[in-house]
Symmetry: C2
Subunit: 164 residues, 2 copies
Amino acid sequence: MSRSPRTDPTSAAPEIGGAPDLLALDRQVCFALAVASRNVIGLYRPLLEPMGLTHPQYLVMLALWEQSPLKVSELAARLSLEPATLSPLLKRLEANGMVARGRDPRDDRALAITLTTKGRRARRQAERIPPAIMARLGMGLPEVEDLRDGLTRLIDAADREGPA
Amino acid sequence: MSRSPRTDPTSAAPEIGGAPDLLALDRQVCFALAVASRNVIGLYRPLLEPMGLTHPQYLVMLALWEQSPLKVSELAARLSLEPATLSPLLKRLEANGMVARGRDPRDDRALAITLTTKGRRARRQAERIPPAIMARLGMGLPEVEDLRDGLTRLIDAADREGPA
DNA sequence: ATCAAATCATTCGTGTACTAACTATTAGGC
DNA sequence: GCCTAATAGTTAGTACACGAATGATTTGAT
């Protein structure tokens, strides 16, 4: 599986003899990222569906299980999402009875997102998910953690020097 | 921006002294994947916008620059996307004049997606994108390629043993 | 004390992305 | 040749995800 940076003989791309094809689909990190993200998240679907959660909603629950209540803006920062994305998502979580949306008495602009009893209880079920995913992937924990750390470095690199 | 450190006194996370918290947000590979995918793809936006392309449309163009024409089902397989996702996307690419959608005379069910002259010419502009992204990331090429290969292994692992 | 600037959440418009249901066409079994 | 299977693409419905614009509230500088 090791791929040489140059002189890949299996490439169907043009410019075979000359310069390496920088636009080859299988060479793009963004493509590998997009596919891996979609496909791995897809593995969660059958596990989350019984709980009535989508994967983005599951990530919100993870954040709230670490700390509750949280403001919408705090959740957005924690998850690297726009508040505009979270707003309708949180209404759906409220409709499912997982969270409560209430004003913060200290600041009438802010919305305090709080776990409900049902939301707190759902944590027990969720604890079975990470081991199930690891078993389904059939990869060693060290390799997956290395990959996660590499992704974290990539995230930090993309964050630095915003496109101001 | 700067991430809050561990040992948050207000944390509601249980098992502090005992077992490690498997549900910690920062431990999840799926979270790192989702954020890295969104943020890295976000770096492409200012580069692709002048070409009138979104990132998924850019991936379709990469596939077509390698081989054209392609059927919708072939594109879907190449990009790991559902035909239902590609169908409206290809209509937008056609509206932008990048591709032509024509029936295959051999099989009236199949749709042949072909690059237009404008679509072929756009490749020149696109060749500047990968180097610009690498410069923007400020990471070494070897590390990024290692990460891509790790992602490829993850994709393969998620593919094996479909959730039958 | 007051008003401009900053902050917070929401809404709107566009574009993915998936599952399920549907239509049209082709291929096979007889 | 005919009818069922399978295949190819589209449509409908739900749910993200982002940028831009909006409305409400708070902060800060005067």
